[in-house]
Structures are given as structure tokens and as C-alpha cells.
């Protein structure tokens, strides 16, 4: 507390001191007939020189940053389209840096050169159609180039994935990622959020999962039966608030159970196979080098964003819809580590859309393997499918 008082006292005394100094300054400028609106030769020239000093310092600082941190500040791309994106980024950077340096040199040099000089009058120059035409047309041409190259790359990246590309789902929730490989059939099983239970975190759709979701909703720990029992039990005394909360919960579960029963009625058990062979994988996402992947994104709660900076991949995950992004990793983790001279380096999948307090910790390691290693890993997972896990937990 004492330290806070001292700080406050220092601030107050500081303000008083400066005010007094200002008074002295103003009295002296009154004596010397100085007018604040008249900028003196000395001040004018000082600022003109500072303009040059400033712009040189700005350039120096900028060039230092470029030299120290790489001129576009990041490492090599690790995916096929990533190289094209990097080439495009470099092209754009060349154009904008040229514009930045040119306009800044001219701006600050003019500010320096045309500072008021005694006896020199400004040149009355109000407009020139020719000049204005020049600086409308030249930027238009430059932008035309940027737009054409940009859209060509964009269209290629966002094109539909090839039929044989490997389907993997990335499921996001506060605050972690889960991957789901499509298994032998290379088709991801269907899902519905209402089927989510402890044994079926991704809400996959099979005859069994519908049954167990219905069972859970009806007879689970806070299922409909339990809620009704609690509400009807004369020996339990509930506050009005608690009772209302329970009623709301019961009402909501009543609606959900109706939807689940409808789902059961419509369900075709032939679709079960799609989901049973899926492989659910936490902590680390394994990818095979030089294979095209179609990532499917899903979210359980709020918007997240799947951000894989080394692969130049990013796509939001949106509750209620599936988003997609295709890409082909073209260098293994091992090889990439060599280029970085860093044996501990890892590719990473981060969350890049604000999603709650621990947003910054929501990440998953990504490992790109040689085809052989990848096949071995897949092999090791072949008895660890959704079906195996689901029935093991029963």
C-alpha cells in the first residue's frame, strides 16, 4: 500500500513540476514575442532533418528484421501446394516492398526538401490529368497481375479432392483434437451429435450406437428416468430454481429422445460398416509423405480453426457443418528436421480461432512418415478400429 501511495505522490508532483516549467516557458515566450502558430525556421528545419533520420532508421530496422528472421519470417513449406503459395507470397512481397520503399523515400524526401524557405513561394499545382491517369493505371495493372496469379493458386488449392485421396477427419472440442481415419474402405462413417456418449465421443452412427444413446438418454445417470424419479420423489426437497432447472433439462431430453427414436426408425444398418472400420487416434496425427489427404473438420462446441502452419493449411471447424481442406505433405518429419538442424522439431496442428481460456494450449503433434513406416503404423492399428474399441468398452 505504501508503495502505491509513493507512486501516486510522484505522479502528482511530476505533473505540478511540469506545469510550473510550462508557465516559465510561456512567460519567456511572451517576453520574446513568440507565437505558437508561427513555426520558427529552426524548428521547421529540425523537423525536416528528423524526417530523413526517421525514414533511414525505419528502413534500417526493417532490413535488420528481414536479415535476422528470414525475409518472410518462416521456414520452408512442407506440402505440395505450400511451395506454390510461398512462391506467390514472395512475388507479392517483391511488389509491395518496392511500393513501400519507393513511396516512403519520396514522401519523406519531399517533406525534407520542400520545407519552408525564406522568399520561396509554393508552386500552385492543383491537378494534372496525365499524372492522375498514370497512378490509376499502373496500380491497376499491378493488381491485375496479383489477382490473376492469386486466383489461379486459390482455385487449385480449393478444388475438389481426388477420389483416391485419403479421408481423415479432425474433430475439435475445447481444448483438444481427435483424428479419425476412414479405414480400409476410405470412407468416413456417418455421425450425429446426438449419439455422443462416453463410448462414442465422436457420435458415430451405427445401429448399436443409436441403441446405446437411447438407452443412455432414458436410463443413464442423469437420464429421463432418473430426472423423473428425482422430481417425483416426495422425500427430496428442491428449491424452485433447482426444480425449474430439472424441468428444463427433462424437457430438452424429451425432445432429444424423440429425435433419437426417429433416427432409429430411419437408420439403415448397411451404413454401419462405414463407421466400424474407422480408426480413432488422439495425441498424434500420422500422415504419409506424398499422399493426398482430404481433411474433414468438425466441431463439438464452438468454432475452432485447424492451423497447420508448416503445410500452409488452415480451415475453421464449425459446429453444425463439415469443412474440408486437401493437401499433400511432401517431406517427412525426419527430413524436415535435417533442414532445420533441429532434432526435436515437430510439425503441429494448432487451434487458431479464439475458443476459450485454454485456446493457446489446444494442439496436436503431426508426424509425416515414409510410406513403409506409415503402412506399419496402419497395420498396428488394424485391430484397434472403432468396432474393436466400442465392444471392448461394453
Amino acid at each position: 500500500m505504501a508503495s502505491k501511495l509513493i507512486v501516486l505522490a510522484v505522479i502528482v508532483l511530476g505533473i505540478i513540476t511540469v506545469s510550473q516549467l510550462m508557465k516559465v516557458y510561456q512567460l519567456s515566450s511572451k517576453l520574446s514575442n513568440k507565437n505558437e502558430a508561427e513555426i520558427s525556421e529552426k524548428n521547421n528545419n529540425l523537423n525536416a532533418k528528423l524526417m530523413i533520420v526517421f525514414v533511414l532508421a525505419l528502413f534500417a530496422g526493417f532490413i535488420w528484421l528481414m536479415l535476422k528472421y528470414g525475409w518472410t519470417g518462416r521456414g520452408m513449406a512442407a506440402s505440395v501446394h505450400g511451395h506454390e503459395v510461398d512462391w506467390l507470397l514472395n512475388l507479392n512481397f517483391v511488389i509491395i516492398l518496392f511500393v513501400f520503399f519507393l513511396t516512403h523515400i519520396v514522401l519523406f524526401f519531399f517533406a525534407y526538401k520542400y520545407v519552408r524557405k525564406p522568399g520561396v513561394k509554393a508552386h500552385f499545382f492543383a491537378h494534372s490529368n496525365k499524372l492522375e491517369m498514370i497512378w490509376t493505371v499502373i496500380p491497376a495493372i499491378a493488381l491485375g497481375v496479383i489477382i490473376i496469379f492469386g486466383l489461379r493458386t486459390w482455385n487449385k488449392i480449393t478444388d475438389v479432392a481426388a477420389a483416391e485421396s485419403i479421408r481423415v477427419e479432425l474433430f475439435s472440442k475445447q481444448f483438444d483434437w481427435t483424428a479419425r481415419y476412414s479405414g480400409e474402405d476410405n470412407a468416413l462413417g456417418k455421425f450425429d451429435y446426438k449419439l455422443t456418449t462416453d463410448d462414442n465421443e465422436l457420435g458415430l452412427l451405427t445401429t448399436n450406437t443409436i441403441d446405446s444413446a437411447i438407452n443412455n438418454m432414458e436410463n443413464g445417470i442423469s437420464g429421463i428416468k432418473a430426472l423423473e424419479d428425482k422430481l417425483n420423489d416426495p422425500s427430496v426437497v428442491l428449491s424452485v430454481q433447482d426444480r425449474n432447472d430439472l424441468m428444463t433439462d427433462l424437457d430438452r431430453k424429451g425432445r432429444l429422445i424423440r429425435l433419437l427414436h426417429q433416427m432409429k426408425g430411419r437408420h439403415d444398418s448397411k451404413a454401419d460398416a462405414l463407421a466400424w472400420d474407422d480408426i480413432i487416434q488422439k495425441d498424434t496425427l500420422y500422415l504419409c509423405v506424398d499422399k493426398e489427404y482430404e481433411l474433414n473438420f468438425r466441431s463439438k462446441d464452438v468454432i475452432h480453426s485447424a492451423y497447420l502452419p508448416n503445410f500452409r493449411v488452415q480451415m475453421n471447424t464449425v459446429p453444425g457443418m463439415t469443412t474440408r481442406f486437401k493437401f499433400t505433405p511432401d517431406i517427412t518429419t525426419e527430413d524436415f528436421r535435417k533442414t532445420k538442424h533441429n532434432p526435436d522439431f515437430h510439425f503441429v496442428l494448432m487451434c487458431n480461432k479464439i475458443c476459450g481460456g485454454a485456446h493457446y494450449k489446444m494442439k496436436m503433434t503431426v508426424v509425416v512418415l515414409e510410406e513403409e513406416e506409415y503402412d506399419d503404423w496402419m497395420e498396428s492399428k488394424s485391430f484397434d478400429t472403432f468396432k474393436d474399441k466400442y465392444f471392448a468398452s461394453m
Binding site: E36, A37, N43, I96, F124, A126, V302, M315
Partner: protein, 601 residues
């Protein structure tokens, strides 16, 4: 199309001397000059708060996990135990910093202050079209400011979903504590703010169209007025869409509707909402959000056009091209919003269209920049503090504008979307440019507002500290972003787990950035001191201290109700007759009739 304001307002002369009470003069004032000052004072206060918040979270970013007395002084034990702020509070600070800066300082503060002060003065009107609505606009602004400040003191914390408040995060209190009471207050505050902005804008439009004095045709308007006029039109067309976005969000939060919610399980609770789309909110939000950038920027560009011309003692180069480019920017600003949404899962073809329209904006922007630079060419420059800030504005407008070209390119945006590159980009192009424009305006029109002069030397100190500090913050920030650092991260040492080099770079640069941020913040103390000291103790200003042409400098230094004693001034020429060959003085005010044989520009 000469205005007919003189007759309409003639009756003012008869009763302008009645005594005003303290309340009607300083509080519920209907005088545009007082309302402008009220906007300015409120905005300065809000700006100081928002700047303080930024220093708090910059400390966390530079020295993550280290206790700080400064942080604990402001946040206390609940939100910063041991002087280390909590994760949720970090997000709360970021959110409120953004909201206050964008809406309360740069929209309410910039447009509110200078539209109010300059529109009646520069078009030669006695006051705004409706003094009462003008007063209402300020008081709505004031109430919304209070609500926004109050939201920082509620138990569950302020809104924490980022200034863009994307649902479902902002709709579900289970997802983050700030989406409870804090978010409710945020939404109500913003709804009232929008009402304030709409009332103000309608008033500005009507005033510019109807109350111009004799001879003040649209093509004789100073560029400031053109800028405020177009800004007001953009505001009227886009703010209602934000209001609808906010109302639907309020309904989702309070009435159980599903506009933005679908298939959600949060904290183990399965919600029944189905069929809504979070993307819908983003479309509605950015339909305001992007024009908002220009609502912030165009007034700053207008102010600087006037200042750069006056202090170069030269006409603004390409007056009509300047008007044309403002119109083009304003039009394009409505058809670019989805460039904020390239990677939300929106149809990629739609993305391509928005790439095209967005990059088009660079053309009128380039025209503006080159016209500013040509105005300096062969000028006779007076470095007033306002002129320094104007040159700072042009510089920031360029450096921030060129990085926009990268972000507008959808293919490149994939990689840098939501990284610090974006943060650096918009802080430079809209934050710095607009703040520089606002400072320039305050220094230039201070004599008009208070009848006093600000201290020039302190103005110089303020400018040089600010521009060095600002570039010191935002240039390194581009590099942090290009290295891939996501924005709104509480602690970048998470990079240590997978990329030590990147982690070290981010921590090093974050320390540099925070150092410059603290420097820049201290620089603002110089301004605050100069500002308040000069209001009370500054030397008296002359009638026309900058030897300027526009009408506001013909009104008496001592403020009076109705702005001009006797008749309103008549306008005979455009406002940029500086250094006309053959003329005696290097400026010819708009009220001077054309000399014999002189052709109007």
C-alpha cells in the same frame, strides 16, 4: 445549388443573447461545438482506458507467467493472483481493448468529434440540422461508454470472445465465463452505441445537404466535409446490419432461438439447437465490420487532406480525384466483407469474387497516396505538430495498405489468417492512420475548439515518440505473424514443445514490442498534459492561426451561439486557393470574391 441556410436560420439573431445555465451550456448542450468537445473528452478517456488494457496484456505476452506489480495493481487478486493475469482475463482485456478502440475512440471519438465541430463551421451553418438529436446522439454514446466500462467490473468478467464476438463462443456462458453477464452488457452497450451513431450520421447527412451557406456548392466543400458526409452515409447503411446481428445473438442467448447455433455439446450438456449457422453471424458482422474500417479511416483522410494543403501552402492535388476516390472506396467497402471469411468454410468461388473486389480498393487508395505526396512537392512546408501527424498518417496508410494486398489474396490468407500479421496490418492501416489523423485534427483545430494554442514543442516530442513507438510495435509484429504465431494466444512458450527456434523468436520480438508499446504509451502522457494544460492555461489563439481558407476561421474566437454574428458568410471560391500566382498573400479565404478577370478553379 446554393443553400438557403441564411433565411432559414435568420431568426437566431434575435435571441442569441439569452443566458444559459450551467446544465444547458456544459451538460445537456445542443450546441455543436460543445457536443463535439463532449465527444472528444469521452473518447480521450476511453482511449486512455483501452491503451492501459493493451499495456497490461503486452506485459503478459513479453514476460509470460512472471508476476508484475503493475498488473496486480489494476487486476487485483481475483483476476491476477500473484500478479499473473488469468487466461480468461487476458482474453477479456484483448476483447475490450479492441471494442473500445474501434468503436468508442475511432468511431465515436473521431467522427463524432470532428463531424460535430467542423460540419457547421466549414459549410457556414449556425448549427446542426437538429440540435436536439445531436445532443441525444452524444448521450447515447455516453451511456454506451458507461455500460462498456461497467462490463469490466462484473463478477464473471467482461466479454471474452474477441471484439468480433463470434458465436457460439459468445452465445454460450458454459464455454467461457465472459459470455455471461459481461457479454450481455457488451451487447446492450453496442446496441445503444449503434443508435447513437445512426442518429449522429443522419444529422450530419441532412446538415451537409441542406444547410450550406450561400455559394457553398458541393464542389466547393472542403475535403473534410466530403469525408464526414460519405462516412455518415456508410454508417447509416451498415450499422443497422450490426444491430440485427447483435439482436439475433441476444435472442439466441435469452430466448432460446437457434440463429447461430446448431448441433452443440458444451461442458457435457447436449443442446437441442439445430439448423442455425455461426457463419451467418460472420456475414452480418462483417457487413458492418468492413465498412467500419472506412468509417474510421475516411474522416482521418479528410482531416489530413485539409491539413496537408494548409501547411504545404499549396492546393490539395487532384481535388476531384480525391472526392472520386473517397466515393469509390465507400462503394467498394460494401462488397468486400467476406474477405474476412476465406477459411470459414464459405464456398471458395464466393471467395474468388471477394478477392477481386477487395484488391480493387487498392486503386483509389493508391490515388489518394500519390495525391498527398504530390501536394508536398514544391510546397512550402510548415511543420506544425498537425502537419507532422499528417505525414505520419500517409506513411502508416501506405505501410498498412500494402500488407492488405497480401491478406486480400485468398491463397496467401490461408497461411496468415488470424496470425499476428493480421493484427499488425489492421493496427497500422486503421489504428495508426486513424489515430494520427485524430491527433492531427486535435492539434490543428484546438484553437478553434478552445480559443487557445497547444504547446508546439510538446507536440513535436509527442509526435516523434508516438511514431517511433508505433512502428517499433508493429513492424516486428509482422514478423511474428509471418512466423505463424496465432493471435489471441495467452502464452507463446507453447511453441517450445515443437519448435524452439520459433519460440525464441516470438519471445524476443514480444519483449521488443512491449518495450516500444510502453514507450508509446508514455508518449501519450505528453499529449494528455499538453491538451489539458492548454485548455486552461494555453496562450490565446489568433483569429486564423494557420492562415487557412476555410470558413471556420472567420467565426469569432470566443464561441457564440450561432457561430457568426450578423449574416452568415458567403462563399465565392473553392477552399484550396493557396499560393495563387499573382496574389498578395499565400492564401485567399473562401469568403473573398473572385478578383476581376480571375477564373474560378
Amino acid at each position: 445549388m446554393a443553400a438557403i441556410a441564411t433565411e432559414a436560420h435568420g431568426h437566431h439573431d434575435s435571441h442569441e443573447h439569452h443566458k444559459e445555465s450551467f446544465v444547458s451550456k456544459y451538460i445537456f448542450s445542443q450546441d455543436h461545438k460543445m457536443i463535439g468537445k463532449q465527444f472528444l473528452m469521452t473518447a480521450v478517456f476511453m482511449g486512455v482506458v483501452a491503451m492501459l488494457l493493451s499495456i497490461l496484456f503486452r506485459i503478459q505476452l513479453a514476460w509470460p507467467g512472471e508476476g508484475s506489480d503493475f498488473v496486480s495493481f489494476f487486476l487485483g487478486d481475483k483476476w491476477a493472483p500473484g500478479g499473473v493475469m488469468k487466461e480468461d482475463m487476458y482474453l477479456g482485456l484483448v476483447t475490450i481493448h479492441g471494442t473500445i478502440m474501434v468503436f468508442f475512440l475511432l468511431t465515436g471519438g473521431l467522427s463524432g468529434t470532428f463531424s460535430n465541430i467542423l460540419i457547421p463551421f466549414q459549410i457556414g451553418a449556425r448549427d446542426m440540422a437538429s440540435g436536439f438529436l445531436n445532443m441525444l446522439s452524444y448521450w447515447f454514446f455516453f451511456i454506451s461508454s458507461l455500460l462498456m466500462l461497467a462490463s469490466m467490473f462484473v463478477e464473471s468478467g467482461p466479454a471474452m470472445a474477441g471484439w468480433t464476438i463470434y458465436p457460439p463462443l459468445s452465445a454460450l456462458p458454459q464455454a467461457i465465463s465472459g459470455s455471461g453477464m459481461g457479454m450481455t452488457l457488451w451487447l446492450f452497450s453496442m446496441s445503444i452505441f449503434i443508435a447513437s451513431s445512426l442518429i449522429g450520421s443522419l444529422n450530419y447527412i441532412v446538415t451537409v445537404l441542406n444547410l450550406r451557406t450561400k455559394g457553398m456548392s458541393m464542389t466547393r466543400l472542403p475535403l473534410t466535409i466530403w469525408a464526414f458526409f460519405i462516412t455518415a452515409i456508410i454508417g447509416v447503411l451498415s450499422f443497422p446490419v450490426l444491430l440485427s446481428a447483435a439482436l439475433l445473438l441476444i435472442m439466441d442467448r435469452m430466448a432460446g432461438t437457434s440463429f447461430y447455433l446448431s448441433d452443440i455439446i458444451v461442458s457435457g450438456e447436449m443442446l437441442t439447437n439445430h439448423g442455425g449457422s455461426p457463419i451467418l453471424f460472420q456475414h452480418l458482422f462483417w457487413f458492418l465490420g468492413h465498412p467500419e474500417v472506412y468509417i474510421v479511416l475516411i474522416p482521418a483522410l479528410g482531416l489530413s487532406s485539409e491539413i496537408i494543403s494548409t501547411n504545404s501552402r499549396k492546393p490539395i492535388f487532384g481535388y476531384r480525384a480525391m472526392i472520386g476516390s473517397i466515393l469509390a472506396i465507400a462503394f467498394l467497402s460494401f462488397i468486400v466483407w467476406a474477405h474476412h471469411m476465406f477459411i470459414t468454410g464459405m464456398n471458395p468461388f464466393l471467395g474468388s469474387v471477394f478477392v477481386f473486389t477487395t484488391l480493387l480498393i487498392a486503386i483509389p487508395s493508391a490515388v489518394k497516396v500519390f495525391n498527398y505526396i504530390t501536394t508536398l512537392w514544391k510546397g512550402s512546408i510548415n511543420f506544425t505538430p498537425a502537419m507532422l501527424f499528417t505525414i505520419g498518417l500517409v506513411s502508416a496508410f501506405i505501410s498498412g495498405g500494402v500488407t492488405g494486398i497480401i491478406l486480400a489474396d485468398a491463397a496467401l490468407d490461408i497461411m496468415i489468417h488470424d496470425t499476428y500479421f493480421v493484427v499488425a496490418h489492421f493496427h497500422v492501416v486503421m489504428g495508426l492512420s486513424a489515430v494520427f489523423g485524430m491527433f492531427a485534427g486535435v492539434y490543428h483545430w484546438f484553437p478553434r475548439m478552445f480559443g487557445k494554442m497547444m504547446n508546439t514543442t510538446l507536440g513535436y516530442v509527442h509526435f516523434w515518440i508516438t511514431i517511433v513507438g508505433a512502428y517499433g510495435v508493429f513492424f516486428p509484429m509482422h514478423f511474428v505473424g509471418l512466423a505463424g504465431a496465432p493471435r489471441r494466444y495467452y502464452d507463446y512458450s507453447v511453441y517450445q514443445d515443437f519448435d524452439v527456434d520459433a519460440a525464441n523468436m516470438m519471445i524476443d520480438l514480444n519483449v521488443i514490442i512491449t518495450g516500444f508499446a510502453i514507450l508509446a504509451a508514455l508518449g501519450q502522457c505528453v499529449f494528455l498534459f499538453n491538451f489539458f494544460y492548454s485548455i486552461f492555461k494555453g496562450p490565446k489563439s489568433g483569429q486564423n492561426p494557420w492562415k487557412s481558407n476555410t470558413l471556420e476561421w472567420t467565426s469569432p474566437v470566443e464561441h457564440m451561439h450561432g457561430n457568426w454574428p450578423g449574416e452568415l458568410p458567403t462563399v465565392h471560391r473553392w477552399p484550396y486557393d493557396y499560393s495563387v500566382p499573382g496574389a498578395e498573400e499565400d492564401f485567399i479565404p473562401q469568403t473573398v470574391p473572385l478578383a476581376e478577370g480571375e477564373e474560378e478553379h
